[in-house]
Amino acid sequence: MQSLDAKSQRMIALCMLGCVLFNFPVLALFNVPATLLGVPLLYAYLFIAWALLIALMALVIEARD
């Protein structure tokens, strides 16, 4: 098995981060009847976390080696 370069390792870490963010129990923390600026907390969380993950992916993948 060849060892993975730094970029690949970072992308794997981001995938794992995503798996944690969009799964039980983190999801359960936001699955409560509360709102953020009128939007149910869970919905707001899902979209914000999702956007954050995409931003991180862009940062990692576009970084110069």
Binding site: P33, V39, P40, M57
Partner: protein, 932 residues
């Protein structure tokens, strides 16, 4: 009022526009100026993932169970993070082996097995049919609804409609013709459909804009922003439970997780995704941008799903309007004619994009991996001897497209009514997920075998069929419903929706659990028990080690046999046409520096492999293998030989790794040498400077000695006083000369490290007072007052006494030289503190020019007389002093005193043992005094 003909004309105009785009892109590709070879088009073409399901179905799903539609888009985001590893590898494999489809990919990996390719194709066709029916359903029902504008009437049951009046049938047929025009006008090399990709990218833009437009209209036009919609939904007793939705609704967290996993696999193995992401990719580098642009696209197109869903349910509270149509019916209800038409076109984009790419991918598979291998094996057809088969290939593909769409229509008529859009699509997702173990295992695990892959695929597919497709048929009345409620033959353990008594899960979770268990289990178990053939060994190695293989090693090394170039040309010409065959031969000849056709091409292993890969680009790996096999006399390699070749190959790789390492070391050594060379040059230059300065310094006293001795020698009349004066000057100049030579010798010794150091315990007080005594005569002559401050006792330092005296002499004569000529004053102080000893020698001269504080300690740096600019002294004294002090671990520096004059200081560390003792003594002393 929207007339029916307006909708039809606009739709056809839109399809015409797509066709024009495709035509233009194909033209540009022929000229070698591709429009799709950039990362943005690539990312947009990936968005073919968003179909009518996304466009209409997500809102329907969200209206039923809140946030349950999201895993379908979050899952792919997670998987795309891994694309950098997974898809990059697939891309490399595909390019090197000229893979034409997903079935080709899997068949190729497992020894170019025609059987495996066929099985994959059958699974894809059956699995994708529901998905295609979903698109037909979406187009036909939205068309029917839009036709009734401004009334909102749900379409009637299709079963009740005569066949020829069913819009869905016409949609299917029109799409079939359109796809045939798109994808099968001529044979594409390695299945690059540039025109199709350009059109798909355009459609992705259209559907995104249409969806955002309706989203903004509903959220901010009908309602008063996000907060308003959610506030009203919370007030509605029917909708309130959807606002904290993961409790119980839609299976809760388990369902959420399985949907995520399912869509993670779908984004890789849906035939159309594999087509656009892998087969149609023009450059591996485009992957980087797509990795974040495509998830961003999914985020954007989902932003307004929840507001639309809640807005729709609030707007149509009685439930008479199907939630799957909210995207269209909301603008209709608000009498937004143009917006409704835009939405319809957006939905059309989403659906046609999916249908075009999916059926083209399917037709390639059906042709290359299902029909051709069978036809080629049927000797009765004598197909292998026919002159030109390109027409046959295109014919098969066209029929495959028509049949797939008709199958989709059939499914729509049979089972389409029983399910919502999303549920239909998920059935297809679960089908393609069955390819994950064989395909992913195939590129990372060499141990997977053909029989293992076959067993896994069949087991997984069987479970999928039984747990998802059978219930769909049962619900639509084609199979008895008792099958679902009581199980086959009344066996409760075999109930399709609760297999082996596993109840309480939603249908997809249940099916995924069992099918993946069966699939992975069979794949791994059979592979481990199996012994792979030579061909499988070789393909496994080509796939798994694709990044480690030397480019030229390729597959050619694995072949041994005899062939003639003419035979190979004939085979190639039959499938790709004589022109393309000529072009391929010419390309190869150019690479080999042969003037073909004047000079013959040698049909060696490499050439046969080349022809086979070109052929594979047209008819798939397994068919290409059969055809090339018919043209060449091949000697089968034994397993042992293949192993040997593989070993050799890895030896070569190891060797080249070592070579790389060696060359890196060499580079490093070269860099070091270069640096050393630079340093030597610098030293050389310094030496030259040194020599010229020293000779200059030597010449000055020599000139005056010579001048005065000549006077004495030539002129006997010089009187005694004069003679004495001259002799005095000569003596003084000789002394200066001696001093200079001594210093130069000293310097050479110190610099080369050959100086003898006699290190003893030295009392600095003695050094200071001895030097002052030695200089006493000079002070008196120049009338200089000297003030000395010495402590009563200081700790000794480990040092060379003579050298320290030299330092003191240097500093003092420096001070004498520079102090005020009229009222000279020198202060000398010795201070002991913190294990360090400091000596200060201060004068009241002009001081050091600011900025020169460091330079004066350099070699030949002479602080010139501020007035005359004439240097005094050799410029070596301070340099030597610095060396001596630093050798003893101390520091020397100079600073100007506020009142004028310079203050030279140097520090030396007290001898280490003494430092500790002195401390202990101090403590002891305190204790003693306390005792008293």
């Amino acid at each position: 009022m929207l007339q029916g003909w307006v909708i039809v004309v606009v739709s056809f105009a839109y399809l015409g526009l797509l066709f024009a785009i495709a035509y233009y892109a194909d033209k540009r590709a022929d000229q070698g100026r591709s429009v799709i070879a950039n990362p943005y088009v690539y990312a947009l073409s990936l968005a073919v993932y968003a179909t009518a399901w996304t466009f209409y179905g997500s809102v329907g799903r969200a209206a039923a169970d809140g946030v349950g539609f999201l895993p379908i888009y979050i899952g792919p985001t997670l998987m795309i993070a891994l694309w950098w590893i997974v898809v990059r590898k697939m891309l490399r494999i595909t390019k090197e082996n000229r893979i034409t489809s997903l079935a080709d990919f899997i068949a190729s990996r497992y020894g170019k097995s025609a059987l495996l390719g066929g099985v994959v194709t059958v699974i894809v066709v059956i699995g994708i049919v529901p998905y295609i029916s979903l698109q037909l359903k979406a187009i036909s029902s939205t068309f029917t609804i839009l036709l009734q504008y401004p009334d909102i009437v749900m379409p009637a049951k299709v079963g009740a409609m005569p066949l020829l009046q069913d819009t869905a049938l016409w949609v299917a047929l029109i799409l079939a013709v359109f796809t045939i025009l798109f994808g099968t006008r001529h044979l594409y090399s390695a299945e690059h459909h540039e025109g199709m990709v350009a059109a798909i990218a355009f459609e992705s833009l259209v559907k995104l804009l249409a969806f955002l437009a309706v989203g903004v209209f509903v959220t901010f036009g009908i309602y008063d922003g996000f907060g308003d919609i959610f506030l009203r939904a919370a007030a509605d007793p029917g909708l309130a439970p959807l606002l904290t939705p993961l409790e119980g609704v839609a299976g809760g967290y388990a369902s959420w997780v399985w949907l995520t996993v399912l869509s993670m696999l779908a984004i890789l193995f849906l035939p159309r995704q594999f087509q656009v992401a892998v087969i149609e990719n023009t450059d591996e580098k485009h992957l980087a941008k797509a990795i974040w642009l495509f998830p961003l696209y999914m985020l954007a197109i989902n932003l307004f799903v929840l507001p639309l869903a809640f807005g729709g349910r609030l707007h149509f509270p009685d439930g008479s309007v199907d939630a799957d149509t909210f995207v269209l019916t909301l603008p209709m209800a608000e009498r937004q004619e143009l917006l409704a038409l835009l939405v319809f076109i957006g939905g059309l984009s989403a659906a046609t994009g999916m249908v075009i790419v999916e059926t083209i991918a399917l037709s390639t598979m059906v042709c290359n991996d299902l029909v051709m291998p069978v036809l080629l094996r049927l000797r009765a057809l004598r197909l292998a001897e026919r002159a030109d088969l390109t027409g046959l290939l295109l014919g098969i593909r066209r029929w495959a497209i028509v049949l797939t769409l008709l199958l989709g229509y059939l499914y729509f008529r049979v089972a389409g009514e029983a399910y919502a859009l999303v549920s239909i699509g998920l059935i297809s997702f679960a089908a393609v997920a069955q390819f994950a173990p064989a395909a992913l295992g195939g590129i990372f695990w060499k141990g997977g075998t053909r029989r293992g892959a076959l067993a896994g695929l069949l087991a997984g597919f069987a479970v999928w069929f039984y747990t998802l497709l059978v219930p769909a048929f049962a619900r639509s009345g084609w199979l008895p419903v008792s099958l679902l409620e009581e199980g086959p033959f009344g066996i409760a353990l075999l109930k399709p929706l609760a297999l082996f008594g596993l109840a309480g899960l939603d249908q997809i979770t249940h099916a995924m659990l069992w099918s993946m268990l069966a699939n992975v289990g069979a794949y791994v178990a059979v592979s481990l028990a199996d012994t792979p053939s030579a061909e499988e060994h070789r393909q496994a190695s080509l796939f798994v080690d694709v990044f480690r293989r030397l480019p030229e090693a390729g597959g050619a090394r694995f072949w041994r046999g005899t062939a003639s170039a003419q035979d190979l040309h004939n085979v190639l010409a039959r499938f790709v046409g004589a022109e393309a065959a000529d072009a391929a031969f010419r390309a190869y000849a150019t690479r080999k520096h042969v003037h073909w056709p004047e000079q013959p091409l040698v049909a060696d292993a490499e050439f046969v492999h080349y022809v086979e890969t070109v052929l594979a680009g047209a008819i798939g790996a397994s068919s290409a293998r059969i055809m090339v096999g018919s043209a060449v006399k091949e000697e089968a390699l034994t397993l042992e030989e293949v192993r040997q070749i593989l070993d050799e190959a890895s030896q070569v790789v190891i060797y080249s790794h070592r070579l790389e390492q060696k060359s890196r070391e060499l580079e490093r050594a070269t860099a070091e040498l270069r640096a050393a060379n630079e340093r030597l040059k610098e030293l050389d230059r310094l030496k030259d400077d040194f020599l010229s300065t020293v000779t200059h310094e030597l010449r000055t006293p020599l000139t005056s000695i010579r001048a005065f001795s000549e006077i004495l020698n030539q002129d006997p009349r010089v009187d005694l006083a004069q003679r004495r004066k001259f002799l005095g000057i000569i003596t003084k100049e000789t002394e200066r000369l001696t001093r200079l030579i001594n210093q130069v010798l000293d310097l050479a010794k110190i610099e080369s490290g050959r100086a003898d150091w006699h290190v003893t315990d030295v009392d600095l007080r003695e050094v200071v007072s001895d030097t002052l005594t030695a200089m006493g005569q000079v002070f008196q002559e120049k009338n200089i007052r000297v003030e000395v401050r010495l402590p009563e006792s200081v700790p000794p330092v480990r040092a060379d006494l003579d050298r320290l005296i030299q330092v003191m002499l240097n500093l003092l004569s420096n001070a004498v030289k520079f102090c005020d000529p009229a009222d000279g004053r020198i202060e000398v102080a010795l201070v002991a503190e913190d294990g360090w000893l400091r000596v200060d020698v201060c004068d009241n001269g002009p001081g050091v020019r600011p900025g020169d504080e460091r330079i004066i300690f350099d070699k030949f740096a002479q602080a010139g007389d501020a007035l005359t600019g004439k240097p005094q002294g050799s410029g070596l004294g301070l340099y030597i002093s610095r060396h001596i002090v630093e050798y003893h671990g101390g520091r020397i520096w100079v600073r100007n005193r506020p009142g004028g004059g310079a203050c030279f200081s140097f520090t030396l560390p007290a001898a280490p043992g003494v430092r500790a003792a002195a401390k202990a003594e101090a403590v002891h002393g305190e204790k003693e005094s306390a005792d008293r």
